[in-house]
C-alpha cells in the first residue's frame, strides 16, 4: 500500500476555480478526514482521487481497486444482504465457497448475521449503511473513499455505525479518506484531520490524533480540544448574517 499524493492539483468547473495548486497526502493504512462546509470542494477532491474527475497536476499512488461509501447506501433492492455483498465480489473472487465465507464473516462483523437473508426494504437506514460498509471492506480494495456516509443519521445510530466501521477497519487497515462536514465523526475516526476552507479551497489547518481509535471518546482531553478548536474556527469563519 502506497501513500496517495496529490501535488499541485487544480480543477475548475464552469469558470469557477475549485482548487488551485492543491497538495494532499493520504498516508497508507491511515484514516484521513477532509472536513469543510458544503460546497467547499471536498467532494471534488474525492472525485479527483477516485478518477471520477479530471484535473491538472499529479495524482499518484491511487490503487486499481477502490471501495466507496456514500450517504446513499446504494444497495440493490432486489438482493439480500448476502446477495449485495456477493454482487461486488463475484468478479473479484471466483471461488464460491471462499466468497461465502468472507461474506458471512463481514456480515457478522457488522452485527447483521440475523439479517443475512433480509432485503433492503426490511432494513433501517443505519442497517443499510452497515451493509454498505461491510461491502466496502469485503471488496479487495486498498482505498476506501467515503463521502458524508453518516449524514442524516441520529446520534445513537451514528455512534454504533462508527463502532462497526472501526471494527471492520481493524481487520484490514485500508487507507481511508473520509469527507464530511461533521466534526464529531472526524474526531472519532481520523488519524489526521484536514480542515478545508476558502475559494479556491485550501487546507487551513491540520490536526493529528494519535490516541487509540477504539478507546477514543469525544470527552478525552485531546479529542475534545481538537473538536473545540475546529468548531470555533468554523464559527469564526462563517459570516455572521
Amino acid at each position: 500500500m502506497k501513500d496517495i499524493v496529490l501535488k499541485d492539483v487544480s480543477k475548475s468547473y464552469d469558470g469557477l476555480t475549485v482548487v488551485e495548486g492543491f497538495n494532499l497526502t493520504l498516508e497508507a493504512g491511515k484514516i484521513t478526514c477532509l472536513l469543510g462546509v458544503s460546497g467547499v470542494g471536498k467532494t471534488t477532491i474525492l472525485n479527483i482521487i477516485g478518477g471520477l474527475a479530471g484535473s491538472q497536476g499529479s495524482v499518484s499512488g491511487v490503487p486499481e481497486r477502490i471501495s466507496y461509501i456514500f450517504q446513499n447506501p446504494t444497495l440493490l433492492p432486489n438482493m439480500t444482504v448476502e446477495g449485495n455483498l456477493d454482487f461486488v465480489l463475484r468478479s473479484q473472487i471466483k471461488d464460491k465457497e471462499e466468497r461465502k465465507k468472507i461474506i458471512a464473516e463481514a456480515i457478522q462483523n457488522v452485527g447483521l448475521s440475523e439479517f443475512a437473508k433480509a432485503y433492503p426494504y426490511q432494513l433501517s437506514a443505519g442497517m443499510a449503511q452497515r451493509v454498505s460498509m461491510a461491502r466496502a471492506f469485503v471488496y479487495p480494495s486498498e482505498l476506501i473513499l467515503m463521502d458524508e456516509p453518516f449524514r442524516g443519521l441520529d446520534v445513537a445510530t451514528k455512534a454504533r455505525l462508527l463502532e462497526y466501521f472501526l471494527a471492520l477497519w481493524q481487520k484490514s487497515k485500508k487507507t481511508v479518506l473520509l469527507v464530511t462536514h461533521n466534526i464529531d465523526e472526524a474526531v472519532l475516526l481520523s488519524d489526521k484531520i484536514l480542515v478545508l476552507g476558502g475559494r479556491p479551497a485550501r487546507i487551513s489547518a491540520e490536526y493529528f490524533l494519535n490516541s487509540d481509535k477504539f478507546a477514543r471518546k469525544l470527552s478525552d482531553k485531546d479529542a475534545a480540544e481538537v473538536f473545540g478548536k475546529i468548531y470555533d474556527w468554523f464559527a469564526a469563519v462563517t459570516p455572521k448574517s
Binding site: I66, S67, N72, P77, N78, F87, Y121
Partner: protein, 255 residues
Amino acid sequence: MNKAKLKSIIVRFSPLITVGVFILIWYIAAIAVDIELILPRPALVFKELLALISGKTFWTAVGGTLSRSFTGFAISFALAMILAVAGFAIKPIHRAFSPLVIISRAIPTMSVILLSLIWLTSQTSPILISSLIMFPMFYSDFYSALNNIDKGVIDMAKLYKVGAKDIVTRLYIPNILPSVLDSVRSGISFNVKIVIAAEVLAQTRQSMGISMQISRVMLDTASLLAWTAAAVAISYALELIVELIKRFAVKWRRA
C-alpha cells in the same frame, strides 16, 4: 357472530357481492325491457355460453384470437424493449424516436384498423393493429422503468467494477421486472380487446371478433353477450397469470 366478524366476511367477499348486484340489476333490466333481442336475461346468456364452450368452433376462434394477440404482443414487446434500452443507453436515440412514439400513441385506433385493412390481409391486420397500439405504451413504461432505477446503485456497480453481464442480469433486469410485468398485465387484456375489434372489421376467419359480428348480424344478442363474457373471462385469466408470474418472480418488494 359478532359485528366485527360479520363485517370482515362482507369485506372479503365484497367483489363477489358487487358482481352479484350487477347480475341482479341486469336481470331486473332484462325483465323490464322484456325483449330478448335487446337485452336477454342472464340465465339465457349463461346457457348460450355453456353451449358455446362445448363446441369446437369456440375453441378454434379463441385459439385464433389468442395467437394473434400473442404475436402482436410479442412484436410490440420486443420492439419496445430494444428501443427503450437503446434510448436509455444513448439519449439521442430516445429523442430521435419520441415523435414516432407520440404519433403511434395519438393515432386513433379506428384509423389504424381501417388503414391496415388496405395494406394487409384479414388474418394479419389484427396483429399489426395490436402491435401498433401496444408499442407506445410499452416503450414509455419500459423507458420509465429503466430511468427509475436508482442511479446511485448503477454508479456503485460501475465503481466497484462489476462485470457487464452481472450488471445486466442482476441489476437492470430484476429492477425493471416489476414495472415491466405491470405494464404487460394491463397491456395483455387491452390487447385482446383491440384484436377482437380489428377482427370484426377485417372479417378474420376463426376469430372471436367475427363470431361476435355474426351473432350480431343474426340478431343473436344472447350469443353476442356470451362471447363478450368469454372475452372478459379470458382477459381476466391472462391478467391473473401475469400477476402470478409477478408474485413468483418478484419477492423483494413489500407485498
